[in-house]
């Protein structure tokens, strides 16, 4: 398993490097276009092409990358299509290089996850290992792109796997380390961002508390706005023309282009802005500028991500965080007697925004730590990240990543009730020794059968085996002991023909709902033609559920 993890790490780093270099090249070559009057249209074109690449060329569904990874984990046992390794890579390459206000990390995580899944398919491993390898891919990709192995591991475990067992962490660590080492070799050993030393004390620590809350609010605002924008977009897509892939994204891209015309730092990936904030190159007196950039970037991100143009929320969170923190620092400096380094707060808010949008405080914290090397600032970073995540959790039920899935009921975490019931199949728990009786027979005939079985429920079937109704012994008590009435009552009259039937391929989840709805303890299972297959009893279900729960949550060695 460690070997496979290493392999995935290598491949993930390749993915990250490819994208990073690709963006550099493309971004530079488009520079001339950007400066021309056509520059306003560039993000629109990039968004359109980006969406087309994914939807038409690769025929993959649109939407954000990481949620697709989460869905693969929760519903498809970690299975992803091999073409996913490349589709979003290309799409976001085009979109972001042209100025789309989104990040590359989400697409890299998505592509690297697909790599992990493909490797797993090739090695023909079981579902649990496949999910792990998928997480390895994510860890490797994030680790390589940010030169931040710890962050890669933490993101993979916190967001994708949502479990922290030792057995899960080890392969992920291997993959992240391998990927980052390769990345370092080829992309250089610098942290993604550089920052100077910060001078801070108890005062600054105290002032970071409101910042943490503020970062949480901004995160909530961002995620909320993006989803509002998505709702608007889907309403727009009812129009025949606007429904075509990429069109809405293109129009949104025009908005981004317009923003970029005035504030070029607000569009595209935006990392230069981050560096400037951290190194205090803006001079905190000019926090008006960063405030403007904050606002502009916010809008641009909502436009890009709300229209489902390819890209992730990682980078925008970092950039918005830097701008927010810097502005906050600048404002604080206005207070007489206060003198702070705005760059310090920029750093903190970076962690805060990531923590808030993803509801993942550790990821946010470690990302800021590793990319800037600010190990001295661990305490305030922790504070801001946790506060922001707390605010976000309180106001939003779900993070940016889990929102979509949770809304459509597709979010199933391993080991949860829904997941276990979705895993169990009706056919696994049939009582095949159910006793049947044909229509036309009387309860007297039934009473003969009673002598040979301990069952209390009997299925009435016709001559072809098609299910007609259920007989419940407890309901027959009033007549079954009277020999005369027994002969007088046919099973047709006594049976419950309205009892809901469970199809043999229904998920246990669906069956459970029916049990709850009807208040029954035994239900019949039929095949597609209506033939009786057996009964399903609630008590067997509980027993099997308990066993499945034990098995799924066991932490024994793989």
């Amino acid at each position: 398993m460690a070997g496979l993890a290493a392999l995935v790490g290598v491949a993930a780093s390749a993915v990250a490097i490819a994208l990073r270099s690709g963006v550099h090249v493309l971004f530079e070559s488009l520079q001339s276009v950007r400066e021309s009057p056509y520059g306003i249209a560039l993000p629109a074109v990039g968004a359109l092409l980006g969406v087309l690449v994914i939807r038409v060329l690769f025929r993959e569904p649109g939407g954000h990358g990481v949620p697709a990874v989460l869905e693969a984990v929760s519903r498809n046992g970690g299975s992803m299509r091999p073409r996913s390794m490349v589709s979003r890579l290309l799409g976001s390459l085009i979109n972001v290089s042209s100025g789309g206000s989104a990040g590359l990390e989400g697409p890299i995580a998505f592509s690297a996850a697909a790599v992990g899944s493909t490797v797993a398919a090739g090695a023909q491993v079981a579902e649990r290992q496949r999910i792990l390898l998928l997480a390895c891919g994510v860890a490797g990709g994030i680790g390589a792109i940010f030169n931040a192995p710890l962050t890669g591991v933490i993101f993979a475990t916190e967001v994708v796997l949502a479990e922290w067992t030792l057995m899960a962490v080890i392969p992920v660590v291997v993959a992240a380390t391998v990927a980052t080492s390769i990345g370092r070799g080829l992309l250089g050993a610098e942290g993604a961002f550089s920052s100077g030393e910060f001078d801070w004390g108890a005062g600054e620590l105290a002032m970071s508390v409101p910042l943490g809350l503020l970062a949480g609010l901004v995160s909530v605002g961002l995620v909320g706005s993006i989803f509002q924008a998505e709702r608007v977009a889907s309403r727009l897509k009812k129009n025949r023309f606007l429904r075509k892939p990429g069109v809405v994204a293109a129009f949104a891209g025009l908005g981004v282009g317009a923003i970029g015309w005035f504030l070029p730092g607000a569009i595209g990936e935006g990392y230069e802005l981050v560096n400037k904030c951290l190194k205090d190159e803006y001079h905190s007196e000019f926090f008006i500028l960063t405030a403007a950039l904050l606002f502009a970037k916010f809008v641009a991100t909502v436009l890009t991500l709300g229209s489902n143009a390819p890209g992730g929320i990682f980078a925008p969170s970092l950039v918005l965080g830097a701008a927010l923190g810097f502005t906050y620092g600048g404002v604080l400096n206005l207070i007489p007697g206060v003198e702070v380094e705005a760059g310090f707060f920029a750093l903190l808010a970076m962690a805060g925004l990531v923590a808030g949008t993803m509801q993942a405080p550790f990821t946010g914290m470690f990302l800021a730590l590793e990319t800037t090397g600010s190990w001295e600032e661990t305490m305030p970073l922790m504070l801001v990240a946790v506060l922001s995540a707390l605010v976000s959790r309180t106001l939003l039920k779900h993070s940016f990543y889990t929102w979509e899935l949770a809304e459509s009921g597709r979010l199933l975490r391993p080991g949860t009730d829904q997941r276990i019931l979705a895993d169990l199949q009706a056919v696994e728990m049939l009582d095949l020794e159910s006793v049947t009786i044909e229509t036309g027979k009387t309860l007297d005939d039934l009473s003969m059968l009673l002598q040979e079985t301990r069952r209390n429920h009997f299925a009435v079937i016709d001559e072809d085996g098609v299910f007609q109704g259920m007989l419940d012994l407890s309901a027959l008590r009033s007549v079954i002991f009277d020999p005369l009435l027994r002969k007088m009552t046919s099973v047709d009259t006594a049976m419950d023909s309205m009892v809901p039937r469970i199809r043999h391929d229904d998920s246990l989840l669906e069956a459970m709902e029916v049990f709850e709805e009807v208040g029954a303890w035994v239900l019949p299972v039929v095949n597609a033609e209506g033939h009786f297959l057996g009964t399903l009893s609630k008590s067997t279900l509980f027993d099997r559920y308990r066993r499945e729960l034990i098995v799924q949550t066991a932490t024994r060695a793989e």
Binding site: A475, L476, V479, M488, D492
Partner: protein, 230 residues
Amino acid sequence: MALNLDDAARLLGVSPATLRRWAREGQLGVLRPSGDYRFDENELRSWARSHGLRLREGRASGKAAWPTAGALPASEEQPLTLALARGGDYSGNSVEDRDALLHAMVAEVPLADGADRAQLLSQLLEREALTSTGLGEGFAVPHPRTPSTAFTDEPIVMLALPRPSLDWGSLDGQKVHAVFLLVNPTPAAHLKVLSRLAFVLRDEGFANLLSDGTGFEEVLTAAAQLEPRG
């Protein structure tokens, strides 16, 4: 509205012991039951909703509610008597044979609006084809093969006292002089009414009323006195 522990537990579909434990463990976040545990109904409902618990409303434990039909000498717990009161007695002309009687009774029996009487008749005949509904001792209990709400919402028993008695193919070979047509909405109702009827028919006095051709009101009163309550 304030609920006590038992009502609150019933609403949530759990035992009072469970509810007490949840309160102790602090599971019931915002609710603050005090002393002898009082719960605000609205808060309880929204707590249940946010915790994904389905509420058990109107899920009365145990007995199904039997529909009443106006002022009758019997209480709700006497389904046979009620059904007889609804069905009444057959007051048509005398007929020649079993099938003709069934035909005539179907025409008269009070069914739900829009009920398909032709369907009822064919179900009655189907049932007779399986085995005779002649109980013996001169009684018969024709009924449709499958009880259905399409015929009626409430149990109905119509009494006919054919004179001369009719050949019913009974198990003991005797001709039938008392016919109870049973029309029920559900199998459960049918089994209940049938067992009550069997019980009442075992009483010698009641059996004599029937063979003497007594008026319907007397039969109904006798049934009300004989039928156990509940």
